[in-house]
């Protein structure tokens, strides 16, 4: 049995799409063939109905053009005030996007979908404003004329002779949730026009009159109807897909549109779009950059860039292929991507040139057997006038703000042409000296050698010059009659023309090889850059490192200062706290970055959003969310927006995002572990406190209550004994509490070191003085270097270390055994040691001793809660030193700590 259930993957994708749509607002387009058919009227009627359903309807902007019927419909609807924009002295009124987002109605009316916003607005186009409204979950009603659809723009231009510049990407129309066709037969429209019911701008009166011809209107109406019908068709297909009606299910087809740097490109893209839509196929627009094409002026290459962007807007995938052989590259790509149809322009070479040099189309026809070719004619052959505006269009700057040009390497070019002269001169001089001893045919070889030299060093232009100069000189000096360009022996004509031809061919070949090598080197460099960044990112341990590596590499690859911004705890973008490095971009616009972060879309210079910003802002993704924003100040937009550069940048950003994600994840893991550790510590702390505090408390309460309740029954010596017990136990408790508080302070990192220069002797003396009672009866030797060695420490803390070490020694060694304090100065550190003659440290416990709540022996008579040594370690470590314990070979233990001596001690003025 045939399985006709819907493909689960496709179904899932659909569900996801629907869910995304459910969160978004719904877009309803009132669609018409021309101005005056009543779109705004219909829209307002629909809005009033919604209003009557008690929905929150607000008019964002509606152009009534003074029509009374329309204005009447506006009455009673809430209207948002327009935003005033002062632009070069004139005041423009625009739809206020921010106010709309703030007001957040259920439905918002925004007329004229294809409108272009005044310069300085957040988005250049109104459809982008609407996109943002939809993203914010606001339903939008809008109106659109068919001629503003990008893919039909060209056709309508040809039908009506008028090109509109305000267009919207077809995807906006296609993604609309509802399209309502507002239809009016041409005759009625013309009647309305006569009655003056249609608004026409004065300045374009003539053109408009031309536009409103009946033939035009019929054609436009047909296009509008067809467009709507094809939408209905698509909906039908979706429906069938949903309901597993397999028969119409087509194998997904791929269409490849090949464009070149010529005016045909735009038409090819539009044709490809139409074909792809009608076949419901994926489509790819490819541009093959051959070495010849690389030599094109920047304006033409920008033109290609613009066409590729147009294609992307129309929903195509774009690629730039780099290969010396266009047809070869196209065939290989088609095989790779399983492409069934290729749309390409008709061969431009004609006649003998096509026969001699071949054409891409011919090669494709002969070599790509299973691919259908669609050829598109060139407009020049039909109508010369129509080509001109298209050319102008092609020359238009493809990206807002893309006006900076890289200064051409003119110096090097001059050098090339100079060297062409020089080399030819040298060869001629050499030939002149050897005249008579060398056959002219061999001389020709020497000239060609010169040409090859020039070609390999300076490229095509200079080597062609060298060929021509060579031929000239050869003719002038070595072909009879000498010193004249005339040729006596007609044989030499062949020599000369062959020489010229060989020279030029050699020039071309060498130049191609050169540019190939350049491309290869470029690619290699790019791969190397990517590799080295990913390696450095991989070894980065902190987010700061990642950011530093990323900024450095982005700068190296795109020669653009840049900065990576992250949100603060409140989700607001903030400048990085760390120090800027040389490659950092200073003064990024946080509001733009915030927009990018919130909307997960690119913005800034050269994009559709906030193009007025000086930098370009890219979101950086982690696995499932936007982590931060890259702000890049491009020296040259082309270096960022050329398709391959853009892909490279995307790869960079992906790598950076992954690296940040990885570090955040490991940080999270680490903090979980730290929490677990803290939990463990808390538990030991609780048990230590409960034991070590309760035991003395029991004695204190017991003894004190005995004295309080029975003062007369107690003998005086009993009271003394009980009192002494209370004092001892209370001191023990005080000691423990002090330790706990010290540890807490050290761990919280709130302690500020009060480092000053102290004589070591003084610190030792203070510690010994404080422990007089405990040390009574023990011989204590102090061995310090002679003189008054100074150390830069917080004396109170280092005294504490010595006190703890000495107390520890007293606790764990037999009463009366000797103790030794010594210090040794090294070049960059001083080591202070406390040695005893006790039983030593159990093997393997040398490190554990310094852990919190570790107690060497399970006895509590004098315990400090197992914190003493942990406090020592914490104090020594915040001084930048290290502490360790070891057994002495002659018996006993040594606890030693090293403190760094990184500053020379201060001088003391000698006494006279």
């Amino acid at each position: 049995m045939q399985d006709i259930r819907p493909d689960p993957d496709a179904l899932l994708a659909r569900v996801e799409r629907d869910q995304a749509k459910a969160r978004r607002g719904r877009l309803k387009i009132f669609f018409g063939a021309a101005a005056g058919v009543g779109k705004t009227f219909a829209m307002l009627l629909a809005a009033r109905e919604r209003r009557a359903d008690n929905l929150d309807v607000v008019v964002g902007i509606v152009e009534t053009h003074g029509r009374k019927e329309t204005q009447a419909l506006l009455a009673g609807l809430e209207t948002l005030p327009l935003r005033r924009i002062d632009y070069k002295g004139t005041v423009l009124h625009e739809f206020d996007l921010d106010a709309a987002l703030k007001r957040r109605p259920a439905i918002m009316l925004v007329d004229e979908l294809a409108h272009s916003n005044a310069p300085g607005s957040r988005h250049p186009k109104r459809w982008q404003d609407i996109h943002e409204l939809l993203e914010a979950g606001i339903d939008v009603y809008t109106a659109l004329n068919v001629q503003h659809l990008e893919s039909l723009n060209d056709d309508i231009g040809q039908i009506s002779g008028i090109r509109v510049w305000e267009t919207i990407p077809d995807t906006v129309f296609e993604d609309a949730d509802e399209v309502e066709l507002v239809d009016l037969p041409p005759d009625e429209l013309l009647n309305r026009l006569k009655e003056g019911k249609v608004y026409l701008p004065q300045q374009a009166q003539e053109a408009i009159n031309h536009f409103f011809r009946k033939g035009n209107l019929i054609a436009l109406r047909e296009l509008a109807l067809r467009q709507t019908a094809s939408r209905v068709d698509a909906e039908m297909l979706d429906y069938r897909e949903d309901h597993a009606i397999r028969e119409v299910w087509q194998v997904s087809e791929r269409i490849l549109v090949c464009i070149g740097p010529n005016p045909l490109a735009e038409r090819l893209v539009r044709a490809g779009k139409r074909l792809a839509t009608s076949l419901r196929a994926e489509w790819i627009v490819a541009y093959v950059e051959t070495p010849q094409l690389q030599r094109l002026p920047a304006e033409k290459r920008d033109g290609v860039l613009r066409i590729l962007r147009l294609a992307e807007q129309l929903g195509a995938e774009t690629v730039t292929l780099s290969s010396p052989d266009m047809s070869e590259a196209l065939i290989r790509f088609s095989r790779q991507r399983n492409i069934g149809k290729i749309v390409i322009g008709k061969p431009s070479r004609r006649g003998w040139r096509r026969w001699l040099f071949g054409s891409v189309v011919d090669t494709l026809v002969s070599r790509a057997h299973n691919i259908n070719l669609y050829l598109l004619g060139s407009p020049q052959t039909r109508e010369r006038g129509a080509a001109a505006p298209e050319l102008a269009l092609f020359g238009k700057s493809p990206l807002p703000g893309l006006r900076q040009r890289i200064p051409a390497k003119t110096k090097r070019r001059y050098l090339g042409y100079l060297s062409a002269f020089a080399v030819t001169g040298l060869v001629t001089a050499a030939g002149y000296l050897l005249l008579g001893r060398l056959e002219p045919a061999n001389l020709v070889m020497v000239y060609l050698l010169g040409v090859i030299f020039v070609a390999s060093r300076f490229g095509r232009g200079p080597s062609v010059l060298a060929s021509v100069l060579g031929v000239g000189c050869f003719d002038l000096l070595f072909v009879q009659p000498y010193y004249s360009f005339s040729v006596a022996d007609s044989q030499y004509l062949i020599t000369l023309s062959a020489m010229l031809a060989v020279g030029i061919v050699v020039s071309n070949l060498t130049a191609n090889v050169r540019s190939q090598a350049k491309v290869a080197a470029h690619r290699e460099r790019r791969a190397a850059a990517l590799y080295s960044m990913s390696r450095e990112l991989g070894s980065s341990q902190t987010e700061t490192d990642v950011v530093r590596v990323a900024v450095k590499h982005l700068y190296a690859e795109f020669s653009s200062r840049n900065v990576i911004l992250f949100p603060n705890a409140n989700g607001r973008m903030a400048f990085p706290a760390g120090k800027a490095i040389a490659e950092s971009l200073l003064g990024a616009d946080l509001s733009v970055a915030q927009w990018v972060f919130d909307h997960n879309e690119i913005a800034g210079q050269g994009t559709d959003t906030l193009p007025g910003a000086s930098a370009v802002y890219f979101p950086i993704h982690g696995d499932d969310q936007v982590l931060g924003v890259l702000a890049l100040l491009p020296v040259n937009l082309r270096r960022v927006f050329l398709p391959e550069q853009q892909k490279l940048l995307e790869t960079f950003l992906r790598q950076i995002g992954q690296a940040i994600g990885r570090i955040r994840f490991s940080e999270r893991a680490r903090s979980t572990q730290m929490q677990m550790e803290a939990e463990r510590l808390r538990n030991s702390l609780l048990s230590a406190i409960s034991h070590d505090l309760r035991t003395p408390l029991a004695t204190i309460i017991g003894s004190a209550s005995t004295i309080a309740h029975n003062p007369q029954k107690l003998a005086p010596q009993d009271i003394v004994e009980l009192g002494q017990g209370i004092v001892d136990e209370a001191e023990r408790m005080a000691n423990l509490v002090n330790n706990i508080l010290d540890m807490a302070k050290l761990e919280a990192g709130v302690l500020e070191l009060n480092k000053q220069w102290y004589p070591l002797e003084e610190i030792v003396g203070t510690a010994l003085n404080q422990l007089q009672a405990q040390l009574a009866g023990r011989p204590v030797t102090v061995k310090l270097p002679p003189g008054i060695p100074l150390v830069l420490v917080d004396s109170v803390m280092i005294e504490q270390v010595l006190i703890n070490l000495l107390e520890n020694a007293v606790r764990y060694t037999p009463a009366g055994s000797a103790l030794e304090i010594s210090a040794e100065f090294g070049d960059s550190s001083v080591e202070i040691a406390v040695a005893d003659r006790g039983p030593g440290i159990p093997r393997g416990q040398e490190e554990r001793l310094f852990e919190k709540f570790y107690q060497g022996r399970q006895e509590t008579a004098q315990s400090g809660g197992g914190l003493g040594l942990a406090i020592c370690r914490a104090i020594v470590e915040i001084h930048g030193g290290a502490i360790s314990a070891r057994n002495r070979p002659e018996g006993g233990a040594v606890f030693a700590f090293k403190l760094p001596l990184d500053q020379p001690p201060p001088e003391v003025e000698p006494e006279e």
Partner: protein, 232 residues
């Protein structure tokens, strides 16, 4: 209790400590008046003609240092301050403001009694009259008029600064002197930056005067605060 019993005023906000001080001081022959707040304490000070003030630095109504300054405006009365552990800066401020000695909570009664005795003895010598010309503590003997210093009867040669430092300590024998106070007295006001000077000269003094400079018996260090010449 006789009329000559020394009068001690205790300013302390904690009732338990107040009770402990009152009981123990009273039973040791002192006349005790206590106050809960700084303001009340200042009133008591004006009324009671005290010989000594015990002042807790953490008062609810005013800063202990301000109490010291107020007292010092009209009296050279010895002041012993009580402070929490690890409040070094607070202690230094109080000592610089004119307090004579300090005790860190918790403290035992023995300690308190010793401090009171030293402070009272120090106060018995009128400030403006000429100091005794020969000062003796432990095995150290300093003749302030002839500038001769002897240890165990042996004359010790000191440099001018060492002698100046020693004489400042002798004049304040038993009292805590902060690093800043010593700097000001010995080197003058322009040496406030050279905090290491007193420490180095104190080491030199110890090497000349103490049997074991690492375990001094006379020239004691008050950890984190300053120095004290122990009075035997």
């Amino acid at each position: 209790m006789s009329k000559t019993d020394p009068v001690i005023i205790v300013i302390e906000d904690d009732p338990a400590i107040r009770r402990f001080l009152r009981t123990s001081l009273h039973s040791n022959g002192y006349k005790v008046f206590d106050a809960e707040t700084g303001k009340q304490g200042l009133v008591e000070l004006g009324v009671r003609k005290p010989n000594l003030l015990i002042l807790d630095l953490g008062l609810p109504d005013m800063d202990g240092v301000d109490v010291i300054k107020a007292v010092r405006a009209w009296s050279a009365l010895p002041i012993i301050i009580l402070s929490a552990r690890s409040g070094e800066q607070q202690k230094i401020d109080a000592l610089d403001a004119g307090a004579d000695d300090y005790l860190t909570k918790p403290f035992g009664f023995g300690e308190l009694q010793a401090r009171i005795r030293v402070a009272l003895r120090h106060a018995l010598r009128p400030q403006d009259s000429a100091p005794e010309s020969v000062f003796t503590t432990g095995n150290l003997q300093v003749d302030l008029s002839s500038r001769v210093v002897k240890v165990d009867g042996r004359e010790i040669h000191l440099t001018p600064i060492q002698y100046r430092l020693l004489s400042v300590l002798v004049k304040n024998a038993g009292k805590v002197l902060t690093h800043q106070q010593i700097l000001r007295e010995v080197w003058g006001p322009n040496y406030q930056e050279h905090a290491h000077y007193p420490r180095i000269y104190m080491s030199q003094l110890r090497q000349k005067l103490e049997a074991d400079p690492a375990q001094p018996k006379l020239l004691l260090t008050e950890s984190g605060l300053g120095y004290r010449l122990k009075v035997w």
